[in-house]
Amino acid sequence: MQERILNLLSLGIFSNLGKIFIGLMEIIEGIGSRVLFLWQVLRKIVARPFEIRELIVQLYLVGVQSLGIVTVSGFFVGGIVAIQFGYALNMFGAKVYLGGVTTSGLLREVGPVLVAVMITGRIGAYIAAEMGTMKVTEQIDALRCLGLDPIPVLVVPRFLAVLLMVFLLTIFGLLVSLLGGIVTSYFLLDVNFSYYLVNLLKLTTMAAFLIGIIKSFIFGIFIATIACFEGYNAEPGAEGVGRAVNHTLVYASISIYMVDYIVAALVSITFTLAQSIIFTIGV
């Protein structure tokens, strides 16, 4: 490590600038190739014949594998959020509003992000490893030599399965975390059940729900694309598969947080804009 820093310093400004430039180019190239891959996958979704059997198998695998972890983490996170907000609200004597506050946060942020990260770890890594191993053991080449296109046969079912499941599991996760919130509020914070629900419905907006859902869909696209890309393009050897999994976890997680940030920023900007327009018109 020390050597590398010394090397960098000794090379002078232009060399280092050059390296940064190349690094940027590499990032752009990386993003570009993944976008191209996504495009190829999307095109082939409509290709006949559609691998319905494969899709069902993948839906089952992805769904079943993630169900446990989404349930458990959903429930507990729901509870945690309730506790955190609960104590704060309590200080203002506003415990009753707990239902609304927690749900809003869960719907918009925690729910989608949490489920997405869970699925990245469980499914993303699994798909990257499975396809990576197939690539490395020449099974994908063997498929091509049978006169078949690996994208519609292998990638599309997995891609669609991840998309659909991220979506469904997010909804499921939200419901579970609601349950966690309710249970925790009732037993630990002594919030009345009906108050919780009433305020939940009052303070939760359709917008929050929709934003959460749309976000989960976008996360799904990122996870599916990255996992399939890394596996499909894995380099030879055990190292290659390991790296494919590693890249999937890192890139997908980063993408999720970045997208989350951007969406949140966009929403708030739009909101503020909308409010000021309404205000101006009102005036």
Binding site: R144, C145, L146, G147, L148
Partner: protein, 241 residues
């Protein structure tokens, strides 16, 4: 009919295929001998479009292979099957599903037809029907190799390319595979290319043999003439076996 014209392919510094030309007749079994890394595998991979030559032309049945799109290559690969050195079976599928895989997507057979065909194919490669429910990992290496053969034949190809079919097998199993290659050629009217360094197999199956050395064929002859050849590299090869 298969034709290679003035092929050139380079990986890194040295050319692996250097101005190679060859015509393969229909119904022939052409055997390609050479040391590891000589380019034997590269040649057959170029024939099915997995690799593209740097220069030269590849023709199969009057069509130019090296200029084909991925879409056009699909039909070529059905007609000209490449059987890899390692079995490359799909490990999450049963033997039955492995063999039926290509069949289901290229042809529109009913389930019962597929079943009948898979059983027929297993018989053709001398494997027991019982194996169809098993998974690749439960089969021996030799058995897996036969399944990968069956999987390729399921597409009713005209040409079969065997990449080191007997490498890694014990002497008796090797012989069985070699006779299977002959049997299949006869029963299915195939044109075959066998890439290998197994001399016994060469003696058993080949109509013509080519020694690949330094990117081109140093010798091409019928098996008995081949062994009489005075080519120095060939002599070294034969003596070492």
């Amino acid at each position: 009919m298969i034709e290679f014209k003035n092929l050139y392919k380079k990986f890194g510094e040295q050319p692996v295929i250097n101005n190679l030309s060859l015509l393969i007749e229909d119904g022939e079994i052409f055997f390609i001998l050479g040391i590891t890394g000589a380019g034997k595998t590269v040649l057959i991979r170029m024939l099915v479009g997995l690799l593209k030559p740097d220069r030269g032309e590849i023709w199969l049945d009057g069509k130019r292979v090296d200029r084909m799109s991925e879409e056009e290559l699909k039909e070529l690969r059905r007609k000209c099957g490449l059987i890899f050195q390692s079995p490359t079976l799909f490990d999450s599928l049963t033997i039955f599903e492995n063999i039926a895989f290509g069949m289901r997507r290229h042809f529109s057979f009913s389930e019962s037809e597929i079943s009948a065909r898979v059983n027929g194919l297993l018989e053709l490669v001398h494997l027991d029907r019982e194996l169809s429910k098993k998974f690749p990992e439960e089969l021996s290496y030799g058995q897996q190799k036969r399944v990968s053969l069956a999987r390729a034949i399921a597409l009713e190809p005209k040409y079969l390319l065997y990449d080191e079919p007997t490498t890694g097998l014990d002497p008796f199993t090797s012989r069985q595979i070699s006779s299977l290659i002959l049997e299949l050629r006869q029963k299915l009217s195939l044109t075959s290319i066998v890439v290998s360094h197994d001399l016994e197999s060469m003696r058993m199956v080949s109509d013509r043999v080519g020694l690949l050395h330094d990117g081109d064929f140093a010798v091409i002859a019928k098996p008995n003439e081949f062994e009489q050849s005075g080519n120095p590299f060939l002599r070294r090869f034969l003596e070492a076996s």
